[in-house]
């Protein structure tokens, strides 16, 4: 019956209107404008220090914007403290109260409202069901495992019946297996609860698997907003292309543009690639060709639109994939992933291999800042 807990809940949209956050001379968030729909799972994705946490604090009310407005459910939040906003924040370290029992932690928001103990306990038990931790209410926080603490933090935040739940990298402390499991779990909880989730992460895997839409941030600026496939397949900037997923980078100069493809002259060769960004690219521009490791194929006698020869310098076997690192004659490093279908032969380190990729699988973008590795 856990599904009933949230049948009556509401979700609100969140609107950022030219939001700036400055600390002295440092601009943490630069002119952010976007609308997050009610009931959406929205992620801010970016490297540490890109301003995503600051933006979250501006939405939750812990940080007042230097300029611009934050609207939740259409209402301007200026001057409204975090305790009076319809938001709940899950902290990176969860910030559970160590001296309270699990159920007291969860029902703290009700305690604040003066709800009596029986009702609080009942609500806490319902929420424990929702996060798949039935009967754990009497435990102390330190008796829980990492994943269980996670769920308690979610339950505690949901108890306030927020219209918007804000999550600040809550999975970063978990190990990989648990993290992957909690992604599915969080997504399921969000759909059951039916409220807006705003998720902060530097892990593109998390953002891609859970989110309806993603905003990719770089140095306080939102570079691109879109759903997972759009951001992954149609990056608008060099930064997005290099930050979201792995990409091989070939810098050069545009030789020719025809329709939706361009030909770029690079050190490693002349490559055809599709145009991705809405910003115009013309012949003579400095540009970068991006190719995903999984889009590069072994030539094996087949002619590819773009082909090159490179020396194998490293290979890793990961079961379903071979990960190869090669070096072209021009010195560019190329990473490629070859699906292991059982017939893939092992290559010798140092051998020269012919590889290629299609113009459709590569994209060309104007030269710009790349994500640091």
């Amino acid at each position: 019956m856990a599904f009933m807990v949230y049948s009556h809940s509401m979700s609100a949209d969140v609107q950022l209107d030219n939001v700036w956050v400055q600390f002295g001379d440092f601009v943490a968030v630069r002119d952010a404008s976007l609308t997050i729909e009610g009931g959406e799972f929205f992620s801010f994705l970016g490297p540490s220090g890109c301003g995503k946490t600051t933006l979250l604090r501006a939405i939750s009310g812990f940080q007042a914007p230097s300029q611009g407005r934050v609207l939740i459910g259409g209402k301007d939040m200026a001057g409204i403290g975090p305790n009076r906003r319809p938001t709940a924040l899950i902290f990176q370290n969860l910030a559970l109260f160590p001296l309270m029992r699990v159920w007291e932690n969860i029902s703290f928001a009700l305690e604040v409202k003066g709800v009596d103990k029986t009702a609080r306990r009942k609500k806490a038990d319902e929420l424990l069901e929702l996060v798949a931790l039935p009967g754990q209410g009497d435990k102390m926080v330190h008796e829980l495992s990492g994943g269980q603490k996670q769920r308690v933090a979610v339950a505690r935040a949901l108890c306030a019946e927020p219209e918007v739940l804000l999550l600040d990298e809550p999975l970063s402390a978990l190990d990989l297996k648990l993290r992957q499991h909690m992604r599915t779990e969080l997504r399921a909880i969000q759909q059951r609860a039916g409220i807006t989730f705003i998720y902060i992460t530097h892990d593109q895997g998390e953002a891609l698997t859970m989110s309806d839409r993603i905003a990719v941030m770089r140095q306080g600026v939102i570079d691109q907003i879109g759903d997972g496939t759009t951001v992954y397949d149609h990056p608008q900037t060099a930064f997005v292309a290099s930050f979201v997923g792995e990409n091989n980078v070939f810098s050069g100069r545009v030789a020719e543009v025809s329709g939706k493809t361009a030909t770029v002259e690079t050190q490693a060769g002349r490559f055809g690639a599709r145009l991705s960004s809405t910003a115009p690219i013309t012949s003579g521009d400095e540009a970068i060709v991006f190719v995903r490791p999984e889009s590069i194929r072994l030539a094996d006698g087949v002619a590819h639109e773009n082909s090159l020869t490179a020396e194998l310098i490293q290979q890793e076997f990961e079961g379903h994939f071979w990960h190869l690192v090669l070096r072209t004659e021009s010195g560019d490093q190329v990473r490629m992933s070859v699906m292991n279908d059982g017939s893939t032969g092992v290559h010798d380190i140092g051998s020269r291999i012919n590889i290629g990729f299609s113009a459709q699988s590569a994209i060309v973008l104007a030269r710009g800042e790349l994500a640091a590795d």
Binding site: S60, F62, A95, F97, L99, M100, F108, V112, C159
Partner: protein, 310 residues
Amino acid sequence: MLGWLRWFLARNGVALSVYMLGAVALWVIIMIVLPQLFMLDFSFRHNWQQMDPSKMGGPEDVYTLVNYHFLAYGSPNNPDPFNVVDVTVFFRTIIAAVFVTIFDLAICYPIAYYLAQVARGGKARLLVLSLIIPFWVNELLRAFAFRILFGEEGTINAMLMGLGILSQPIDFVREDVALYAGLGYAYILLMIFPIYNVVESLDKNQIEAARDMGASWLRIHRRVVIPFAKPGITSGCTMVFMLSAGALAAPQILGGPSSLWFTQIIYQWFNTGSNWPRGSAYAIVLMLTCVLLVLAVMKIFKVKIGEIGR
């Protein structure tokens, strides 16, 4: 224990181990255990030294409860059912020490919280310095300065009368205001630092989380900060209470003419009374009462003794 000893020897070598263990043992035995045992022994003896030294070590030099009996009932020709003066002073001292402790806690908790969670960097350091530097002035000097401040013709009375708030000076010393202020001030650092230490290790996010869930400042302190700070509060309160109850200089200088501190009575037995056994008995009763009271309060507030050390 034997295993630990072997490990300790192996780790530090014989010479260093013997020195360290010996130093600690000497410290514990000579500075802590022996003096208290002597006092305990004294407290059960007749004061033959003073009354008839020839009986010392003789057949009449036996253990007795006469000194404890005196504290409770006074001399044999005391008309009252119990030793009114000493017992009253005893309880008044304990209650006053409790009061000083509560007073200090009320003042120091906000300061410690501010230092630990609100102030940053230079500001916090400046504040700590301004708390410590006044203690470069020694206790006696400070006590006499308080007399000047609180005296009938003192600064405070002069100010209040100058402002027209008072028409008659108030004798703060007689009213014991000076004493409480002096005692309270003497031990604030012992209250602030233990609380500060604990509160500093409290995760700021917990405070923000509570705030995010709509908790008022009062509730945040009651439910999050104070439970967390309990070990610090306990050790601060214990020290302030013990030291206030056992203070001598401040009551001597700042106490009103009619109010005695129990330590002053103990001092009189040891000093002018030349009755060390009786003084010892009084001192031991004071010590035991204080310890039991502290343990009882810790029991009520569910603080374990191990937590205090953290």
